[in-house]
């Protein structure tokens, strides 16, 4: 591989958590033999603290004001020039929404394989990448021909807290981006007005997924939530269908929750859902599919039809009172 690049997503001093995790994945790869690790930092701000003291070999600083805000055209032009100049063998990023937006475009432009959303790798012999397919129901081992590869690591694959210690040199990279014309005009980011529920503070959550089947069945989970004194949460499809408000959605594009009890009912447990709930205290999953990925994070599992279990659970809880 030689040089390993890790593309850092940052905003001012804040480094995206998934980038920090990917640094740790990149460190493991580097330590598998004879490689060097270079963090690529975009924008005119000074390298943020966690980067300066961590166990990487060098910070390549693309010190340009045009890279302060995300612009796919500028990011791609800068990365393309840097890659041409430095010839890395591996280019790693966290699988963030921003990475989803520009990395595939860069990959096809420079003709490199891009393996997205990896959950690991095996580095003995030829490098093999592990990634989920079929929404996490199956895992795949993927290989590439010899030559440079682009990879993104799924959120939560590596730790983000301990990045080791080091004193990487900072090398400023000078690029001419004056010819880049942005065709995409971005306005400031915003959040929707907050609703009335704050799931992040709930102690118990009864969360419902597409397995509920029909809107009229929602009342059984509403009743269960009431009996448990829990807030109602959901996966994305339930919100997409308009059966619950968006502020009840748990996951990467909804709320991140850590209740003491999280009951997942008819939820398959796709990664975008898991990232929002897997740090809950006690996770119970009710799903008729024994292979549903939600069971990978559940403490208690019930493989059965929710329409039989939920009413029985309501009865049992009422009996307790």
């Amino acid at each position: 591989m030689g040089k390993i690049f890790i593309l850092i997503q940052s905003e001012g001093d804040a480094i995206h958590r998934v980038s920090l995790e990917a640094i740790n994945g990149a460190r493991q790869l580097r330590d598998s033999g004879g490689h060097s690790l270079h963090a690529v930092l975009m924008g005119s701000h000074a390298p943020p603290a966690p980067l300066k003291g961590c166990d990487i070999d060098e910070i390549l600083h693309l010190n340009h004001a045009q890279l302060d805000q995300y612009s796919p055209e500028h990011f791609i032009a800068a990365a393309e020039a840097l890659i041409a100049q430095e010839s890395p063998g591996l280019i790693i990023a966290g699988h963030t929404y921003q990475a989803r937006d520009w990395l595939p475009r860069l990959a096809v432009r420079i003709g490199l394989p891009m393996i997205s959303d990896c959950t690991g790798f095996e580095s003995g012999g030829s490098l093999t990448w592990l990634r989920p397919i079929f929404q996490g129901k199956i895992s795949a081992e993927v290989t590439t021909a010899d030559g440079p590869v682009m990879v993104s690591f799924q959120a939560g694959t590596f730790r983000s807290d301990d990045l080791g210690t080091g004193a990487p040199a900072v090398r400023a990279i000078d690029l001419d981006l004056s010819g880049v014309v942005p065709k995409v005009l971005r306005e400031p980011k915003f959040q929707e007005a907050k609703g009335t529920v704050d799931l992040s503070r709930a102690e118990r959550i009864v969360s419902v997924g597409r397995g509920i089947g029909e809107q009229e069945h929602m009342k059984i989970v509403e009743e269960l939530a009431a009996v448990l004194g829990a807030e109602l949460g959901s996966s994305r499809p339930v919100v997409d269908y308009g059966w619950l408000d968006h502020d009840r959605q748990v996951g990467s594009s909804g709320q991140t929750v850590t209740p003491k009890l999280y009951l997942a009912i008819g939820i398959s447990g796709a990664i975008q859902h898991q990232v929002g709930m897997k740090n809950s205290g006690c996770i119970v999953a009710i799903n008729k599919d024994a292979h549903a990925p939600i069971f990978e994070v559940a403490d208690y599992g019930i493989v059965a039809d929710l329409h039989e279990i939920v009413p029985a659970l309501i009865q049992a809880l009422k009996g307790e009172q």
Binding site: P72, A145, E187, S253, L261, A298, I302, I309
Partner: protein
Amino acid sequence: MKQIPDPASALHIRADELWIDESNLVYSANESDTYALEEALLLKEAHGGEVVVVTVGSARTTQMLKDALAKGAGRAIRVALEGDGDLDSNGMAHLLAAALREEAFDLILTGLQSDDAGHGQLGPMLAELLDLPHVTLVVATDIEAASIKVKQELEGGWFQNVTLTLPALLTIQSGINKPRYASLKGIMAMKSKKIRDVQPAGLGIDPQQLAPLQTVKRIYLPIKSKETVFLEGSPAEVAAQLVDKLTNEAKVL
């Protein structure tokens, strides 16, 4: 639009462990692609124009294409390919780009991710090859003369409004609209609509561009990282066990 094994179907790994067993599966349109189709139909109804549905796939995709035509697409193009497993994202992007270059379009909509292979790459790659501006994860659109303003979903409940000049490419996120069902009238009208089959060989692509850059070596059932305690018995027994465990073991009740 991509046709994929219906997410509700039970998947079995093929004996060679290279892909799933595709016999006896029910297929349906990829979820975010159905939202992309609906958005295209809504834009056509508001601003005029034509919706053309394009897929790369086998004869099996006829059902999906007919359904799209019945919902209101004007015509369909199928780049005929038996088993798309041999193409990776890069090859698929080159193939689709070659087919689309023969068309005059103002807007290309794709789903944000296929729920089988899950690359989430084809939209931006296609935009690159066709030299179009693009935005991913679009949750609202608004056409203004020669440009389009869209709302992009960012992480953790943040959004950003983005304006692009047309022609452009958008990848559509689920929930942007409420996909319709085909009406009886639509189904009747569908019968006179055309599905045009395009042979990859006729597109003048350098075979080198279709050569996969990545290859699936093995697929397997995920290895569990957590010890899940599975509760068994009749619904009443399971419910009683769970209440007991939550009260006395996990101490969360």
